[in-house]
Symmetry: none
Subunit: 176 residues, 2 copies
DNA sequence: TTCATATGAATGAATG
DNA sequence: CATTCATTCATATGAA
C-alpha cells in the first residue's frame, strides 16, 4: 500500500526482510496536545460521535490552533474513541452477566449497545465458497454474504487450467 | 487479554508473511499477503477500479496462488481502496490549507512522505482529475452535496505571535 | 530491559 | 459509492 502520507510507517512485514525501508526516518504520528484532547473529549461528551466530513474539517481547523493536526487525525480520534468506549462497555457488560436472566437486550445501556456477541449462531448459508456465478448485469445486487469464517484452508481450488508456477510479476495483469 | 470470549482467532503473531501462503495464520478475516496486495495495487494503479464479477473471479483465482483468498475479498479490496483513496484525498487536501504559520520556532513540517518499500517503481500519477477511460470508468461524480471544498474562510489565522491564549472553553463547541 | 497499557493508524467487512 | 463497525498493527510511555 502506498499510502504515502504523513505519519506512515512501514506496515508490511513486521520483521523479516532485514532492513525495512524507512526504519530510520522518524515516522511521527500525531501527538495531540492536552488542549486538543480536551476539546475532542468535550465534543465527544457533548454527544458527537461521528462527525461529518464538514465537521471534521472545522474541528481540525480549530484544533490546529493548538498544534499541528490533520483532518484525518480528528477522524481517527473519533473512530477510536467511540470504538474503544464501546469495547470497554462491552467488556463490562460481559462482566456483569448473570444479573440479567432475561435474554432480552441488556437493560443497562441506554442506547448504542451493539450486541456483537450473538448468543445463538444461526446457520443460514450453506454455501461455503462464493464461486457463485451471480449475474450482476448492472444493478448493484452484488453482495457477498458470507457469514462463516475459517473454512478449512483446504478449500483452495486453484482454478483449473492454471498451471501457473508463480506467474511472472510483470505479466500478472495480463490475465484480465 | 480480552479473556477469549468472542471465539475469534487469537492471532499468534503478527507477520505479513514475507514468503507465500499464509502459513499458520489462524482464521478471522482475510489477511492479504504482500504479493496479493502488490498485485491488487498494480491492478488499481493500472486503472482498474471496479472490477466486474468476472474479473473478480479471475483475480481471485490468480491470487489464490499466494494464499487463501475469496472473491469477496477482492471485491471489498477494490471498494475500500477506491473509497479510501478518495476519502484520503479529501481529508488531506483540506488540512494543508496551511494556516499562515510563519512559525519560526521550528522548521518543522518535515513532510515525511516516504515511499516505503517501493524502490523507484512508479511515480504514481497523482490523479487530480479523471483520466481514466477504462471500462468501468469512474469519473469523479459530483454529488448532490455542495463541494466539500467549502474552505471555511473563517479559518483561524493563528495569531502567530508567540504564545497564543486559548479560546474560551465554553465557546469551543460553538463552531459546529 | 521487558512487559503492559494507551492510543494513533490502518484496513477488512458490512450496510444503506 | 459513502459510512460505519470491528479488529488488528504499531508505537510511545511508564511500571516492574
Amino acid at each position: 500500500m502506498d499510502e504515502g502520507m504523513s505519519g506512515f510507517c512501514i506496515k508490511a512485514s513486521s520483521f523479516r526482510d532485514g532492513g525495512n525501508g524507512n526504519s530510520g526516518t522518524k515516522c511521527g504520528r500525531w501527538n495531540p496536545t492536552t488542549e486538543q484532547v480536551k476539546v475532542l473529549t468535550d465534543l465527544f461528551r457533548s454527544g458527537l460521535r461521528t462527525p461529518s466530513t464538514d465537521q471534521i474539517q472545522k474541528i481540525s481547523s480549530q484544533l490546529s490552533f493548538y498544534g499541528k493536526i490533520e483532518s484525518k487525525n480528528v477522524f481517527y480520534w473519533f473512530q477510536n474513541h467511540k470504538a474503544r468506549e464501546r469495547q470497554k462497555r462491552r467488556k463490562v457488560s460481559i462482566d456483569d452477566k448473570d444479573i440479567i436472566r432475561r435474554d432480552l437486550e441488556n437493560i443497562s445501556s441506554p442506547k448504542q449497545i451493539n450486541q456483537v456477541s450473538e448468543p445463538a449462531r444461526v446457520i443460514e448459508t450453506l454455501q461455503l465458497f462464493p464461486i457463485n456465478s451471480f449475474n450482476e448485469s448492472e444493478g448493484e445486487k452484488l453482495r457477498f454474504h458470507a457469514n462463516e469464517y475459517c473454512k478449512e484452508a483446504s478449500a483452495f481450488t486453484c482454478t483449473v487450467g492454471t498451471e501457473m508456477d508463480l506467474p511472472p510479476l510483470d505479466l500478472r495483469l495480463s490475465f484480465l
